[in-house]
Point group: C2
């Protein structure tokens, strides 16, 4: 099957215009069929503050009341998404910016209230992978903002890592999928205090060993659990690397490559 590379960038790249331009320049030149999922960054928090909308985070997740949903829709779906698209267009990459609502590509359901009311937060229920494939076949490069929609017509804030992984898991029926998480470190570290201790390859067994030895930074564990779940679901490989090292990571020369 035709290879597809799905990249995810987070706030640390988006908040740094030079880093973003470096990343987008690399992204625009990647030869395979590709798509990008971006997070939000601090801009949403800054805009919210100026608009008098209070930011509440619980366990690293934003609580999204209606005013915050509007901020997130503006900043992620508008400002960040369209700046990325126009920059990619100037790099001759035929980007198309999308939220889950556009072309009905990603449906979700509002997270049920248990201990915590996350507000307008969506858990993905259905992805139209055929539409994504149709776009990529037409030469378009989808750029997803982390916003989905419910059948009620509500927009819903959705975690960008989860979105990237869910798209990857659904695209396996059309493509050989590589999922690349770009973040601020050079990969998964064997010693969280040593930036040079990047683990180049990680199998589920090795991951269990590293976890048992308490080597893995706690913040990385949900990301890695998610990544191994994607591999079990049929994604060919998951790469975790620095946003500046995507090209090298894709050939195994940098970052951490996870294989099942």
């Amino acid at each position: 099957m035709n290879p597809l590379t799905i990249l995810k960038i987070g706030g640390n790249v988006i908040d740094n215009p030079k880093a973003l331009t470096r990343f987008l320049t690399t992204f625009s030149m990647l030869p395979d069929t590709k798509l990008l999922v971006h997070g939000g960054g601090k801009i949403a928090t800054d805009v919210a503050q100026k608009l008098g909308v209070e930011t509440t985070m619980i366990d690293g997740r934003r609580i999204t009341d209606k005013p915050m949903l509007n901020v997130v829709t503006m900043v992620y779906g508008g400002l960040v998404n369209k700046q990325i698209v126009s920059q990619l267009q100037s790099l001759e990459c035929n980007a198309i910016g999308l939220t889950g609502a556009d072309a009905g590509i990603i449906k979700s359901t509002k997270r049920p209230v248990k201990d915590i009311d996350y507000g307008f937060v969506g858990d993905i229920s259905e992805i139209d992978s055929g539409r994504i494939q149709a776009f990529t076949r037409e030469g378009l490069v989808p750029i997803f903002a982390p916003i989905t929609y419910a059948e009620t017509g509500d927009l819903l804030n959705t975690n960008a890592d989860t979105l990237a992984s869910a798209i990857a898991c659904d695209m396996i029926y059309h493509n050989d999928v590589t999922l690349v998480y770009c973040f601020e470190k050079k990969g998964v570290l064997a010693n969280p205090d040593d930036e040079t201790s990047v683990i180049n390859q990680l199998t589920p067994d090795q991951y269990r060993e590293h976890k048992a030895a308490d080597n893995i930074n706690k913040g990385m564990i949900p990301k890695l659990d998610n990544a191994f779940a994607a591999l079990s679901a049929g994604v060919k490989r998951v790469i975790i690397c620095h946003a500046d090292e995507v090209e090298a990571a894709l050939t195994g020369q940098a970052g951490t490559t996870l294989r099942s």
Copy 2:
């Protein structure tokens, strides 16, 4: 050729959630191939004010410095566009929100500085009508925010009336095009002080007569000049009507229909 209806709604509809829902419900049920161009409304001005970005208007056009461009991109390209798209999705209309940058559909050039520096304002230079047709053929309903892009990668604020008319003029090679401007009055009035004096049909000759007799509201003249230019270019008909009367206007039962 397959008919295509292009509708344009402005701030007065967008600023009124109930009016917007009424309009979108009608829009979702229109049987022909269709697309929507929306303006901005007061939300951009409100958001700008709260963010400490000053709004300057000259001759009804917004001066768009960089902070204002960011506001416009957030509000038009994000909030307004995505709220319309998700509401249409809930009405089973397969909407896809687009700025001109998305899929490189609408290129423009930054307006040259003469007497006035409009800032990041774009004059449309090229429309990929083939891409618009491809989307409509796939059953998608494009929803355009009034933002275009330059080859430099800059997003540019673009007048929504002009955008609707430019798309209409380029789609004539693919479709029999009807262009519908929805606004707050019931049509072109023979007497600006009498809301019931709607002119049902208007030819270029009749328009000249009404203009000579000083019957036409001055604010309407650029809109009408633009509309007759679209007819000269090959658009089949232009309708000017109230957003609540689109269905009746499309069968000539309301609003003003302009024919060449």
